[in-house]
Amino acid sequence: MYAFLIPLLKIVVVMAGLFGAVPVLVYFERRIAAFIQDRLGPNRVGPMGLFQPLADAIKMIFKEDIVPDHVDRVLYVLAPVLAFVPPALAFAVIPFGHPIRLLGDRIDLAIAPAGMGVLFLLAVGSTSVYGIAFGGWASNNKFSLLGGLRSSAQMISYEIPLVLALVAVLMTAGTLDLGRIVAQQAEFHLGILPAWNLFHQPIAFLIFFIAAFAETNRLPFDLPECEPELIGGYHTEYSSMKFAMFMMGEYVAMISMSALLVTFFLGGWSFPGIDPTSTALLSGIASVVAFAAKVAAVLFVFMWVRWTLPRFRYDQLMNLGWKVLIPLALLNIMATGVVGVA
């Protein structure tokens, strides 16, 4: 009974944190966008507009849920779910704190600490394209279809450099266990410099970072839904909560990607001052806070970049992916191998 309760509790806490973060992110996205453009942004609902996401959510819930006549109903309804579930699933294996000992039991601060965690991430990540592709096709609308197809092509293309970048990291780490990857990064070089993979694998970090933007369809790679060309892209025909689920899927994907980036390159939950070998509750909480803070910082960069860079053209996007990132990632793997052998 007790053994069953702990994972359940972890699931509830993590998912609640995840979904709770989405409206906060929406709020910050709007405020940051406004500030960067010398505007004020939402500041009417509640103090400093803090209840704006609540108003948005209520609006979304009460909007009429339209299913157009000409759509393929099964896939049309399935698509928002598929867009939303895979990014959320990724959190199943991400360690968000070091293990703690509670009531005499050792508890890993990850929902399912699996030895093959990276494989699981990649498998789940590879299915995230379907939500958008189905949404685009099922809408039975040429703009949606084009958006969906662009998105699938973009995601497959950028998945390759993403995985190749990770391969280099895995080569240095020598394991597929995310917990161990993080634990390795908790050490220090020369006593001060944290042993983050960012410093071991700067090129892999850069490739992963760029590919992460493309994988989450964020600007400057938001071609599947670029308004001047495709109206709304794959979610043109969606309304109400179905539309909201696409939006939430996008933000959850952003959080997952940031979490992965933090886990693989920025030392995960580790932070100078936190003893990785400790199993104390307080230290555990500190590690969770460190993890969240890092993720938040990466999320800020996501937004910051969005309001700085213009959108790529589709051929430029493909050129960057296939002609620059993939060869670069392959070279990186080779270099890593050579250094590792030497």
Binding site: L75, G115, L119, A123, S126, S152, I156
Partner: protein, 169 residues
Amino acid sequence: MDDLIFTAASIVCFLSALAVVTRKNPIYSAVSLILFFGGLAVIFLLLRAPFVAGMQLIVYGGAILVLFLFVIMLLNLREEELGKEKGGRFKAFAAVAAGALALLVIVPVMAAETARDGFGPLASLPDGFGSVDHLGLALFTQFALPFEVTSVLLLAAIVGSVMLSKKHV
């Protein structure tokens, strides 16, 4: 627990595989195929082969089927373009052919398995079976030649398709 999961995964696999060949709309066939690969990945996991399971999803579920869908969606066949159902004779022939193919798989498996002590538990596996290290070692030592030959074959296929699709070289 394993039996329960295996039963569920097999049912999913069976039904989705059936749907792949019975759906008229190719999109639904492809969707069913994705579902089938999902079930297959679960069965691989049960067989203590997580790497193969992962690859199953990443390569087949995530990449190849997306390309399938790409083509189907771009063609975007409408009801009338799909044409009429083929006649009963064609279907009967297809069923017979499929049955024969199934026998080709089932008979050797049954023969091989019953030659040993039936469907026993997978307890007797060596430690680390199916892990990346294990697989990597096997591929790059014992099976290095077949592995490299296969990669050359794939390379030839890639070069060939590029040749075919380019109008003038």
